[in-house]
Amino acid sequence: MEAAAVAHHDHHGPPEANRSSRVEPQLLGMLLFIISEIMIFGAFFTAYFFIRVVQAEEWPAAGTELPVAIAGINTAILLSSSVTLHWAESALKRDNRAGFRAGMLTTFLLGLAFLFIQVNEYVHIGFSPQDHAQGSIFYGLTGLHGAHVFIGLLLLGMVTIRAFRGHFSAQSHRGVEIPGIYWHFVDVMWIVVYSTIYIL
């Protein structure tokens, strides 16, 4: 009775949430979020394949050209950001704080460069979403992905700031791991978007 009273006295805040899964709540949340994201991208790809395969429309639209080489360099930049992120995470697990900070900062800057180049591409591409169905799909898919890069940058920015403020350690790095999974997912989606929109 006395022990229960002491335990009750030590507990602060609301009661702990019920946990029905063996997967950690943070990982489960990201897993469900990414599954929903795949469905959103799937809807956009359905529209893309509809106009290319079912309607057999010319791709890209007549009189337009997609900057395959510049987007290819942008792809390399985004893939590099995943490598530096993995490096940062590995450095943190080895308690190499300088490597962790450098890796996070580099990842953030590479992501920012990707977004900047994509906006620059929009400015110079020469067509707009309302010009034709191909334009709508192009801006829809690449814009949807760009929005994901923007959200990823916000998350990476927070991790980078926290890294420079001394947060995280080799034992406690869940706050780096979850945004990291999201960022790799964003890169996976870009590989699919780039190969279908620009190359195939």
Partner: protein, 36 residues
């Protein structure tokens, strides 16, 4: 297949796997278009 979202390391390995598969498919399709 191991859940690619289990950790950052698994997600990174999954990314490399996707890059390899998509690159292979893309090369095959581009070559097929050139030949046929």
């Amino acid at each position: 297949m191991i859940n690619p979202l289990r950790s950052e390391g698994e997600a990174f390995r999954f990314l490399l796997y996707v890059v390899a598969v998509v690159a292979t498919v893309t090369v095959v399709v581009v070559l097929a278009r050139a030949i046929l």
